[in-house]
Subunit: 302 residues, 2 copies
Amino acid sequence: MGILVVGSVALDSVKTPFGEVEEALGGSATYFSVAASYFTDVSVVAVVGEDFPEKHVSFLRTKKINLAGLKKAPGKTFRWAGHYNYDLNTANTLKTELNVFETFDPELPLEYRDADLVFLANIDPVLQRRVVEQIKAPKIIAADTMNFWIESKRAELIETLKLVNILTINEAEVRQLADESNLVKGARKILSMGPKILIVKRGEYGVLMFNGGSTFSAPAYPLEDVFDPTGAGDTFAGGFMGYLASIRDFSDENLRKALVMGSVMASFTVEDFSLGGIRSLSYPEIERRFREFKRLSHFEDL
Amino acid sequence: MGILVVGSVALDSVKTPFGEVEEALGGSATYFSVAASYFTDVSVVAVVGEDFPEKHVSFLRTKKINLAGLKKAPGKTFRWAGHYNYDLNTANTLKTELNVFETFDPELPLEYRDADLVFLANIDPVLQRRVVEQIKAPKIIAADTMNFWIESKRAELIETLKLVNILTINEAEVRQLADESNLVKGARKILSMGPKILIVKRGEYGVLMFNGGSTFSAPAYPLEDVFDPTGAGDTFAGGFMGYLASIRDFSDENLRKALVMGSVMASFTVEDFSLGGIRSLSYPEIERRFREFKRLSHFEDL
């Protein structure tokens, strides 16, 4: 059955202390779908402009990603430009050109409406809800959001959260959404808003998952060469949801493994610019890094 | 054989959003020795003033801590005052009164010189070296330091590091000491300065250990009520070294368990002011939290 993802397909210009790229392939739906494509079938709902390079479409097709829902609209593709300093934790946005994304209205091709695993990447919560309403029998709806929507569309976001099973946001956003400085208390508050599972992204410190009474902490992989953190969160979500879609069993044990798989995929993404780190991985490479995560966090009982 | 610790015994005045204490028992040697006392014999080298309350001495004696090296000097006890805001990650120092600590010259009682496990808490690197020189046959010398010494006594610190087997510092201090923004590269650089093992303290994000080719990431315990982070790092070191002293086997597997034990003890410390969180624990409570750390970070193989 695979996964459906709605989000952005973009051209990113990124500068870090280690180099820069101009108008490289980016966007939340792109990172998500390429990461998930290693595990399952992925269908994308997004929009690009007439200027979107054909080579990017071809690349996504080589990953067997279903692009029936990738609309080409009159105008220019969504563009983002940002830079990172040495700490690489905070993106400084230099430019956001919404272009064709400004009037994006996600209408799902008929063949998409049977999807039961859905990822709503970080877009307007009203549009996220529009997508959910078109799904016939959703099983797991996962969603991302950001400070911008928490501030500017709080009521709409809270409506959307009622439909969401798994929410993936960063630490500061947990505190902001819950209006609570303690992370654990904030998590409990968010789990009362709709989601059954809250995944807290902490960048180079890994990921925390709150799933009912179970809390899981996955480390991040300590890397000697981090080139560009752009897309790490969406790649994480793609690995997480892709792995879940491949096993279709949502026990806490499997959610934990899926969380580590998401972290594995994110660790590859940050090692290169744009999609460079995940465009042509082999499954043995992915498994090897999964085992390295295991070794990184394993300790014996007393 | 137990452990020898040299450091401060202090009276701390601390204010956090959750309350405050005035002139409560504190100091690096105090937190360390109380934490370690659950696992092994501890001998303290430190100095207090004539005003040091007898009740604190009595309390330390109830923990069977050897105070032969706790000197009472003319003058007042070392005092520190600080406050924390909601994020609880950064202490804001309001006042540091060195008092008797200003002329502290650690001279070890003869009975202490046979110790082979030593912790040099965060004091002047020259004094740290003075202690090591008095030990007859050191087996493991662990040390802490801080930004103040890295800046003001860099050359002396580097001399001391040549004698140190295990260094425990925080993330920012790794970057500062190694003059390197990437943590992994910084760690490698520090491992070439003397220590065989580097333990990087990351507060609410846990601890990273670099031990030759092995890297271990221990999570921090997500707590609903963190009252006062003062002493967490020294408590961590006490649990870590105390557990190692109790098993006297320094394999990577045991170092990992010891690291988690340190994290367990630190998680108790931050739940109360001063020594409140660790003054009267039972061993089953400690074991229970160790198992919770295991559950927190465990995931199955693929």
